[in-house]
Amino acid sequence: MNYRNEIKIEGRKLVTRRHFFKDCGIGIGAMALASLLDRDLLAAPQGTNPLAPKAPHFPAKAKRVIYLFQAGGPSQLEMFDYKPGLAKYNGKPCPPELLKGQTLAFIKPDAALFSTQFKFAKHGQSGAEMSEALMHLPKVADDITIIKSMMTDAINHAPAQIFMQTGSVQFGRPSFGSWVTYGLGSESRDLPAFVVLSSAGGTSGGSSLWGSGFLPTVYQGVPFRRTGDPILSLANPRGVSREMQRDSLDALKDLNQHLLDKTGDAEIATRINSFEMAYRMQESAPELMDLSKESKETLALYGAEPGKNTYANNCLLARRLVERGVRFVQLYHEAWDHHGQVHKGTIAQNKETDQANTALILDLKRRGLLEDTIVIWGGEFGRTPMVQGEPDGSNALGRDHHNKAFTMWVAGGGFKPGITFGETDEIGFNVARDPVHVHDLHATILHLLGFDHERLSYRFQGRDFRLTDVHGVVENRILA
């Protein structure tokens, strides 16, 4: 065995940073560091920077993702999945044959069926069915793709959220955004590649929802907070001005440079670079969060109010983030767990979100961003056709968690606009036609981003892991 050769090949595969310096004709000692630092991050060859932009497996329709996660599990039956059949059986127990093998989180399996109180109508040229709870979304009915036949594996919040975000019900796998960032790298030189925003309650899944699992931590989502510094430890210590921080960085650079000369460890150059990017981030992140620069018309479109911590503001921020090259924007709005009063709850949450969702589509579209930005709307599961609480009671007309059939919508980035895909049975319990499992949705979105979901993998503990585990089929029928 020619070990020497093997080592060489190994080394090349990795393209160490040292190679980079050599290849660029810059002697390590005499390297003009300043030019490296001023060089756009994008120019760094692949391998030197784990976040450098990378080409996917094949030409992609979409470049970035905005995921509007409606945590808690919005009721599809109140918004998208119109079931006259449910009205017919209202108050009657659910047919037992449907319940075989079904796990329910809280309610008794023989709970009565429960019809929605919302009226439904068809909208747009596509005739998409939506309820009156959605007052704004009909405006973009022809821009979005409604999937009424979503299915998931879990019925409790944390596992179901984790499943939706990582493709596994168990904690510890990389999140959707991490996979995408790992696959595509970053196009922003002064903001993180994967940003997380949250409104309403905290999520059930916690930080694992945007964690990188076993992928390197550079791929994990960076939460932008609603109060204080958007990023932890972003601000200089009180009293340290930007100029003084520049001075500090220069002093630091002198010391680091000295060490770089001595040891020849290119990791030091990366660290110098990291400090410079952090310095830029200190300026760009607050600028990003400042919505007051947006026009009155735009603010009104979203219903956003600078300074507030609202879902609408987060939607507008999402647009600002993708404009600045952020790859994956993950929004959470944990407010949809309507075990009681699903009618009232649906109205209340749409008041928070409907206008902003619609505005985001309109705004992306008019800026030409929608065509290569994927927007995803949906929860971790849907809700049962059966009532939780007494059907005749005044105070408990809710629905339990339901994983067998629920609705999500997607838009932009190569999805076929203006269609409604999939159907549920007469009462909305099971998928009757064209089921789309969470793994299939993941596979389809990765496909639009240019990936063969079976090949976007990472070896850990001896196995090639992927977002879709060992499942997932690209649903071509919803692609433009």
Partner: protein, 1032 residues
């Protein structure tokens, strides 16, 4: 046409040999002419005789020429040419030229000719093979030879290799160096010179104890090293190995394996008491517990004979906490069996990863694709862990005192500096004030004195967390029909008629099915209810007060409503029906009308309630006894009646007894026990716990057949103890190699097998296989002593090399796999903090104990559902080592995550090492880090007193000594000094700007605010250097 040309080419290529042989027979010319004219048809005609007999004619050719690499012993490229099915992959019957076999034998398509490195097959042989193929490639099944399971290198028990001889033998300090140098010499490479003394002491300190050496230690080492290198170096190694901080440093690595955390994970992510296990780990490393024993105690300490020494007896139980570190889902509606099975699977995977370096988890759904682990064997391993008593968050516990794992249990009363106990007991006057306030807040005291209506309900679902069986009796009460765990919790999900709940009545009733016809499950018929609350609408609703018609002094009913699982409600007479009433501070409305009552029993072992009934009231009932007590307390002491005095004395005694339970240092540590009747284990189809494959039969616990030694049949089910002993059997080829490989990885940044988590066929091959085997065998020879192996490695010349990059290596060995130099790498997140603490002098070196909460930035919980209690510690507890920082899985301490600490949802044997802008922000601005920088600046002022400008150089030199264990050179000093001068001016320009960086100690010592702030700024810069967070 192509066919013809191909044939001609073939014969031209191989004709030489053929001709030589055929000349004798005199048919050459005829043959050649026919060939040229007829091509393909000719050879068939020429050789047209009988059909080729595969077994007689062809198989021997394969056996002789190919069998070495593609036969029964070895199947390179998964090809066994002696096997029918395998050969079929490279043969296209009837089409010899399209058969890959023939193509490879000819060396077509730019690929190397087979047999690789051997003589080519003769033309006759080739012709025969071709004919056989063209005739249909008959291969009688009976002749098919199965592959012998060849053993992957890691599955062969290591034999101690001879130490190789080397040219430059003077470089060799111990056998490790011989292995390394022999390899380097083969490549004509020279090792690097020894690192300088300052680098060596900093490297050793970081590696062995994870703290920086103090400047005085550095200086005395440098001096001693100058006098006698080896003596000084060895003395330093011994000192560090004997340091109690060694156990913290190496214990932390182990805690990664154990997926240690202080919380349960998932949504609720409640706190758990796990630190006694951490104490055990630290102590085990410090006392150099042999690794075999270390293994056995963690996997099966509960199954060992009980030692007479009670400390050891306790310790071996606490050790089993290793596998209680699994995540627990406390969310409502969780299926306890699913949760239990997931935890057992995690234990199988973790055991495989930690001791075997195998990816056993792959065999959960199907037999391992690459390694010899069958689906069945996975579930036989599973069976070892399938009978443990814990179910989701219910499991056995033992009481452990702070300090107990170190052999120094701390009494309830902490010792003052003088050694005398500090009296912290409750004073009556103080208690009376608190008690009055408590009673006045109690809604049941002020509630009107009238009977409230208690309503029962319609239960929707009732079960226990450990999957015990509850049974509902006709009167609506519940009886525990079978007990599944010694600390089980019951869950009664009900639908209530009215959304409003003001109070809940828990009635406990004797039952003839219970021990001593009592109301509890304990042997004497008693029970101890540690907590009672309502789970509904995504939250826990705790009662504010409780009272009962019977309670023991130390166990009043309110102890079941205090949120403290160590305290509980227990009664005096368990043969009579009794009741406790739990009230909310304000009546609650549950819109969903679905509420779940939770009864927990963690305070005592096997003290569950046996028979009970629950009722609710929409109005708050009146607590007459509490009201009477309040009335009595409000009277001046002299005005109290005898009865009132007795009442107060009893209440005070009760309060003290409860407080003793709370303030005692004892905690309940989670441990392992097996159920008395083992659970049945089956293969789960596709890993799905709802689909046990009963057709495939009941499984008994067993080890992997591919890994030696095989376990003898002992006539009864094997236990975790058998598993543990198998792991540390010297014949087992893996644990010694896997463990040594990981130790090596900590010292050189990379294992000898780089994929330290995968020693299977898909893993990397060892760079130095003989060295790995030598280390593995030496480890066992040294009685599994880790300290002995550390000593060996760190005293080697290999370890002592300088780490500077070398031009001559960058081409030949860019990744430094051959170790012609040491490696330079960033320290782990914990050491980032610990190094800063040791440089600043703020470090609180206290070993062990409960986790602490150092300051952390605001907003850590902005994204989690349950806000965590994080009140930053005061005083020196702020400055404990990082491994004591309370670790919430759902929102870990930000510094750690930023520097690549995983969230410990599952086993971690190797961390990533990233280098990101978020790290830069943390180093520069994390308030906790800034506080430590301030501490460093203050230390400089303290240690180098004098006028600011005059002492600045000395102070900066001292800062370098503290942070980097060296002096700055002139350029560095000038750079830093210039910086301090400029910053001083900037701060002085804006007086309000110094607040965050200056501190009193410095200004008291005579510095101006601006000078103090600038000195802190300099400390901050030093902390931010690559040098500071790098081990060179």
């Amino acid at each position: 046409m192509f066919t013809v040309w191909w044939k001609i080419e073939f014969w031209l290529k191989h004709g030489g040999l053929f001709m030589q042989r055929k000349i004798k027979t005199g048919v050459l010319i005829v043959f050649a002419a026919m060939l040229a004219v007829f091509g393909r048809g000719v050879d068939a005609a020429w050789f047209a005789q009988e059909k080729v007999d595969f077994v007689r004619q062809v198989q021997p050719i394969f056996q002789a020429n190919c069998g070495g690499c593609h036969g029964a012993e070895k199947q390179m490229s998964q090809l066994n040419v002696l096997n029918k099915a395998s050969l079929a992959r490279v043969v296209t019957p009837g089409k010899s030229k399209e058969s890959r076999l023939v193509q490879r034998l000819l060396g077509l398509n730019g690929e190397a000719r087979m047999p690789k490195g051997g003589e080519a097959l003769s033309a006759e042989q080739l012709a025969l093979i071709e004919r056989w193929i063209n005739e249909g490639a008959d291969f009688p099944a009976a002749a098919s030879v199965e592959a012998k399971k060849s053993r992957h290198w890691s599955l062969v028990t290591p034999q101690r290799p001879a130490t190789p001889s080397v040219k430059n033998s003077s470089w060799v300090r111990n056998p490790i160096d011989a292995f390394i140098l022999a390899r380097l010499e083969r490549e004509n490479l020279k090792p690097s010179p020894q690192a300088d003394a300052r680098t060596l002491i900093r490297r050793l300190s970081l590696d062995l104890i994870g703290l920086l050496p103090q400047p005085s230690e550095v200086e005395s080492f440098v001096k001693a090293f100058g006098e006698n290198q080896d003596a000084a170096y060895n003395a330093l190694v011994e000192r560090l190995l004997a340091s109690p901080h060694y156990g913290e440093r190496w214990g932390r690595h182990w805690l990664d394996h154990a997926r240690y955390a202080d919380s349960n994970g998932y949504t609720i992510d409640g706190e758990r008491v796990m630190w006694p296990y951490r104490d055990w780990v630290i102590q085990a490393f410090n006392e150099d517990k042999p690794f075999d024993q270390f293994t056995i105690e963690q996997l099966a300490g509960d199954l060992l004979p009980t030692p007479s020494d009670p400390r050891k007896a306790k310790a071996q139980l606490v050790a089993t906490g290793f596998h209680r570190n699994t995540v627990i889902n406390e969310e409502g509606g969780v299926d306890p069996e699913q949760a239990r099975v997931e935890q057992v699977m995690d234990r199988v995977q973790t055991t495989g990863a930690v001791w075997l370096g195998l990816t056993i988890g792959c065999a959960q759904c199907h037999s391992h694709k690459f390694d010899p682990i069958s689906n069945k064997e996975y579930y036989q391993m599973f069976a070892f862990f399938n009978s443990t008593m814990d179910v989701n968050n219910q499991g056995p516990v033992v009481s452990v005192q702070r300090g107990e794992m170190f052999g120094k249990p701390e009494t309830a009363e902490p010792l003052a500096a003088t050694g005398a106990p500090v009296r912290t007991e409750l004073k009556q006057g103080e208690w009376e004030k608190q008690e009055i306030a408590r009673l006045e807040r109690n809604p049941a005291i002020s509630a009107p004195k009238k009977d409230v209506e208690w309503k029962s309900f319609d239960p929707v679902k009732f079960d226990t967390e450990a999957a015990g069986k509850l049974q509902q009796l006709e009167d609506g009460s519940f009886l525990i029909a079978s007990n599944a765990s010694v600390n089980d919790a019951y869950r009664i999900l009900v639908r209530i008629a009215s959304p409003r709940v003001a109070a809940v009545r828990l009635r406990v009733m004797p039952h003839e099915a219970l021990p001593k016809r009592g109301s509890g499950l304990a042997e004497d018929g008693s029970f101890a209810l540690s907590e009672f609350y309502i789970d509904s609408e995504g939250g826990q609703h705790r009662f504010s007060e409780a009272f009962a018609d019977d309670e023991q002094t130390a166990t009043p009913a309110r102890a079941a409503a205090d949120g403290d699982r160590r305290t509980s409600w227990a009664i005096n007479d368990t043969t009579k029906p009794r009741e406790a009433v739990f009230v909310f501070a304000k009546p609650k409305d549950f819109a969903s009308r679905q509420i779940q009552f939770i009864l927990r029993h963690e305070a005592e072992t096997n003290h569950g309630i046996g028979h009970f009934k629950i009722e609710v009231a929409t109005e708050t009932p009146h607590d007459a006894r509490g009201a009477a007590l309040l009335e009595a307390l409000k009277l001046p002491a002299g005005a109290r009646s005898l009865e009132q005095q007795r009442m107060i004395a009893a209440a005070f005694a009760s309060a003290r007894a409860v407080r003793e339970k709370q303030s005692g240092n004892a905690v309940m540590a989670m441990v392992m026990h097996d159920t008395t009747v083992p659970r049945e284990s089956y293969i789960f189809t596709r890993g799905d716990f709802t689909r046990p494959n009963k057709a495939a039969g009941l499984l008994q616990p067993d080890v992997l057949s591919a890994v030696a030694p095989t376990l003898a049949d002992i006539g009864k089910p094997r236990t975790r103890l058998d598993l543990a002993k198998w792991l540390v059997d010297p014949a087992n080829p893996l644990p010694s190699r896997v463990t040594m490989n990981r130790v090596w990885m900590r010292y050189f940044g990379r294992g000898i097998v780089e994929t330290e988590e995968d020693f299977g066929t898909q893993g990397a091959r060892p760079t130095h296989p003989e060295l790995l085997d030598w280390l593995a065998t030496e480890f066992i020879r040294q009685g599994w002593s880790l300290k002995a192996m550390h000593r060996l490695i760190v005293t080697s010349a290999t370890y002592r090399q300088a780490s500077e990059a070398r031009k001559d290596l960058s081409d030949v060995d860019p990744r430094n796999l051959l170790l012609a130099r040491q490696e330079r790498f960033r320290v782990e997140s914990e050491i980032v903090r610990d190094a800063a603490l040791s440089a600043s002098g703020l470090l609180n070196p206290r070993i062990g104990g409960p986790s602490v909460r150092p300051p952390q930035p605001e907003g850590v919980y902005a994204f989690t559902q349950n806000k965590k209690n994080w009140t930053a510690a005061n005083g020196s507890e702020r400055f404990r080592r990082a491994l004591y920082t309370h670790f919430f899985r759902s929102a870990p301490y930000p510094l750690f995550s930023t520097f690549d600490t995983p969230d410990f949802q599952s086993v971690c044997t190797r961390r990533h090492r990233s280098n990101t802008p978020l790290q830069s922000l943390t180093l520069a601005n994390d308030p906790a880090f800034l506080e430590i920088a301030q501490g460093l600046a203050a230390r400089l002022v303290r240690e180098v007193p004098g006028e600011f400008s005059a002492t600045l150089d000395a102070r900066l030199r001292q800062a370098f000594a503290l942070c980097l264990s060296r002096s700055p050179n002139a350029t560095e000093l000038a750079a830093l000094r210039g910086y301090v001068d400029r910053q001083t001016l900037s701060f002085a320009d804006r007086p309000a700007s110094t607040a965050a960086l200056a501190n009193k100690e410095m200004t008291t010592a005579g510095l101006t605010e601006a000078q103090a702030a600038a000195l802190t700024a300099a400390a901050r810069v030093l902390f931010n250097t690559d040098n500071f967070i790098t081990r060179e």
